[in-house]
Amino acid sequence: MRIKLQNSNIGSEFVKYIERISGETAMRCYQCGNCTGGCPVSYKMDHGPSQIIRLMQIGQDEEIQKANSMWVCVGCMQCYSRCPQSVSAASIFESLRAQALRSDGDHTEIAELPKEFLKNAPQQAIVCGFRKFVS
């Protein structure tokens, strides 16, 4: 990856937005890697939690949005419980998901779901689906 780093990358609008809705500060992270080390699913991510935060620090918005990492995160909060700087990567992932859904045309309208589907789907799946894919 080749990055042309500019002043505008540092604290970009996108990063500021994620920081605002997650309540986290990317610059708090000093890249020890404990979150990626403890994450049960980081091996399936394009970039582990610590790398996603690094990309936020250097304002690589596209790279973050492109990565599958936010969708792989299960929100177990292991990262947060281990973080020496009290940064919650899980909250950042949740915010990234929310941002992706809010800006993406590909989100689910509850009203448009077929009645038949809703009848047969397990209740828990619907609640979780709403939680994860509807914002």
Binding site: M1, R2, I3, K4, L5, Q6, N7, I10, G11, T25, M27, R28, Y30, Q31, Q51, R54, L55, Q57, I58, Q60
Partner: protein
């Protein structure tokens, strides 16, 4: 017939688990000259020492062997004990049967350990039989001190010694004291203004009754030894009479010629008659004799015309002063590495690539821009600055192998200074590791990153080049695994700290050691960090290695306390284990003079009755000799012998094996 007592120590089970100490004592009792042996549990304990004293007195012993631990541990203890019993302390010898025997032989049948202990003790016994009574060498102490280097470490040492009531001579190479610290803008981690805390110290040194300043002076030669040094100092010609000059500044205001200012690291010009900076101590200018046209070709002479007290003296010459002192503190400080070695970063070629000390001057309110951060090429306020750490440090191929220690902290400070002065400016830092060990240091670097918005990128910069009036900095961010290119307005290099230019030749003059980087060597890196191998010469500050201000100040005070301890007695006791020259056989080859690492051997004239010199012989200075024995190995005519370890003694020991 000698009356020797042998005391074998069990050292709990440290010795007795692999050595049959009773057997050793028994074997020793069979040897001629041994009148008494003891096998004892802890010889070094108080009852053990008392037993030793009583036995010596009761049996009128004239020599003692203690077979125990290394003489490094308790030789002093036992020698003191026998001295109290009325015996010459050098008639007590230690046979090391612990470190060199019981601890290295694990044979619990005790066969090997016992046999070796018997051999070791017998050898020492034979040596002891030939021991002479020795008396400690007593030398007088001249209670004046010399401090070389007027930076913060040297100033601190000088003030502390002077406050203790001793006279101090402070020698500084530059026209003013202050050193590198006087150049700094603010100091980490408290961000207090360097000059505000430095100048009071400088003035205190100047006004102290007991401190004599020699600025613009260098140590030329050192003779003598601990307590009795004789220092030759060259006072370089200032071409200004120090007694007449009032420091009014008329001369440097009128001087029509300019040259690059050394103090401002070339960021601005100074006159040819100048003081390095406005708060110079003393506030007396010097004339740059390399450039001044009056001195070179007798043209101009304007400063002389404007000087009302008539202090200008173009005929002044270097003055040689000899001072007698008893102790020396060396505090010559550091230089920054010459950046010319780092062509890929464009230093010297690209105007806006500067070093850390230059940035300090830019950020200093007394600096060339009055504290405004402006880039040197066009005076523009930079929108972004890239700071590159480890330039030359931790770089075995082009620079030095060591870490320069202070750069991580001062770079973090630089980013803050920049942010405080240019609010919308962005600082980027390329680092390899952030080394912020020290009180409140880690918190300081985190503050730079988290609160002051410095962008830290982990990686080295590969190159810096110019494109469209911008400096393109190409490096890596290994944390994200990417190549990074930054368009910057200015680049600041945290170049390696290296030893002061000429540090090696000064060390040779003083007879102290230095390492391959020409940093001065401590006697012991942990337990004797301010002492050198030469008695009476102490170290302070970054002439020992890269060091920050708190460390330099502590070391200055530590060196001062060592000097005070040395000065607290009128006479100085030295071990009598020194080389002795048998003048009759010396053939004056001077191999010993070349071999001696302590410069303790000189050439002595032997005169006949008429006072004519008939021959020359080697002469050992007891004050300087440490008894290392190098001269003895070098001597071809077996003329030199070491008191306490004469050839006769050593051969007797070997023959007893």
């Amino acid at each position: 017939m000698p009356r020797i007592g042998v005391f074998v120590c069990q050292c709990g089970n440290n010795i007795s688990s692999t050595v049959d100490t009773a057997k050793v004592a028994e074997e020793m009792s069979k040897l001629p000259g041994v009148v008494l042996t003891e096998d004892y549990k802890f010889m070094c304990s108080s009852p053990g020492q008392d037993m030793l004293k009583e036995t010596v007195a009761k049996n009128k012993l004239d020599g003692i062997v203690v077979a125990a631990c290394s003489p490094h541990m308790h030789e002093k203890t036992f020698r003191k004990a026998v001295e109290k019993a009325g015996l010459n302390p050098y008639k007590c010898e230690i046979a090391n049967i612990r470190e060199q025997c019981s601890w290295v032989h694990h044979d619990t049948t005790k066969k090997i350990g016992t046999a070796k202990s018997i051999d070791l003790t017998r050898m020492v016994l034979e040596r002891l039989k030939r021991n002479k009574n020795l008396t400690k060498i007593s030398i007088p102490v001249n209670k004046r001190a010399l401090v070389i280097g007027g930076g913060i470490a040297g100033i601190q040492a000088a003030i502390d010694i002077a406050d203790g009531g001793r006279d101090v001579i402070l020698v500084e190479k530059e026209p003013s004291i202050g050193g590198n610290m006087a150049k700094l803008s603010e100091t980490f981690p408290t961000m207090d203004c360097s000059q505000c805390i430095m100048t009071p110290k400088m003035v205190e040194a100047e006004l102290h009754d007991r401190i004599q300043l020699y600025t613009y002076s260098e140590v030329e030669k050192l003779d003598g030894y601990i307590g009795n040094f004789s220092v030759t100092i060259r006072k370089k010609a200032r071409f200004v009479n120090e007694d007449l000059c009032t420091g009014c500044g008329d001369c440097w205001n009128k001087c029509p010629f300019k040259a690059d200012s050394e103090f401002e690291h070339g960021l601005t010009k100074r006159k040819l008659i100048y003081t390095p900076f406005p708060q110079s101590v003393p506030n007396i200018p010097v004339i740059d004799k390399e450039r001044c046209p009056k001195i070179l070709k007798d043209k101009c002479g304007l400063c002389e015309k404007v000087c009302q007290p008539e202090a200008i003296d173009y005929t002044q010459e270097d003055e040689i002063v000899v001072e007698e002192v008893g102790a020396i503190v060396v505090a010559t400080g550091y230089n920054l590495m010459d950046e010319a070695r780092f062509a890929p970063y464009g230093y010297g070629k690209l105007k806006d690539v500067i070093n850390g000390l230059q940035f300090e001057r830019l950020a200093s309110s007394s600096g060339p821009t009055g504290g405004e951060i402006q880039r040197p090429s066009d005076g523009k306020v930079p929108e972004s600055i890239v700071f590159i750490q480890c330039v030359g440090s931790r770089d075995e191929s082009k620079g030095v192998s060591y870490c320069s220690k202070i750069c991580c902290m001062y770079t973090a400070k630089h980013t803050m200074l920049y942010k405080h002065k240019v609010h919308d400016g962005q600082a980027y830092v390329f680092y390899m590791d952030i080394r912020s060990g020290g009180k409140r240091y880690e918190e300081f670097t985190r503050r730079a990153i988290e609160q002051e918005g410095a962008m830290y990128l982990r990686g080295r910069v590969s190159r810096v080049y110019e494109k469209n009036g911008k400096l393109m900095v190409q490096g890596a961010d290994t944390l994200s695994g990417s190549q990074v290119v930054i368009e910057a307005d200015m680049v600041v290099l945290a170049t390696a700290l290296v030893s002061r230019q000429g540090a090696d030749s000064l060390a040779q003059k003083l007879g102290i050691g230095y390492d391959k980087h020409k940093f001065y060597s401590e006697y012991h890196p942990k337990l004797k960090p301010v002492e050198t191998i030469t008695g009476g010469i102490f170290l302070a500050g970054s002439c020992v290695g890269p060091m920050d201000i708190p460390e330099s100040v502590s070391m200055g005070s530590a060196a001062a306390s060592k000097v005070q301890a040395l000065f607290s007695a009128d006479m100085l006791d030295r071990e009598p284990i020194t080389s002795k020259v048998r003048e009759e056989t010396c053939n004056a080859c001077w191999d010993c003079v070349t071999a001696c690492p302590y410069v303790a051997i000189s050439k002595k004239e032997i005169k006949n009755r008429k006072g004519e010199v008939i021959r020359m012989v080697a002469n050992v200075n007891d004050g300087l000799c440490t008894g290392c024995g190098t001269c003895i190995a070098a001597c071809r005519s077996k003329t030199i012998d070491l008191a306490g370890y004469t050839d006769e003694q050593v051969y007797a020991a070997l023959n007893a094996f």
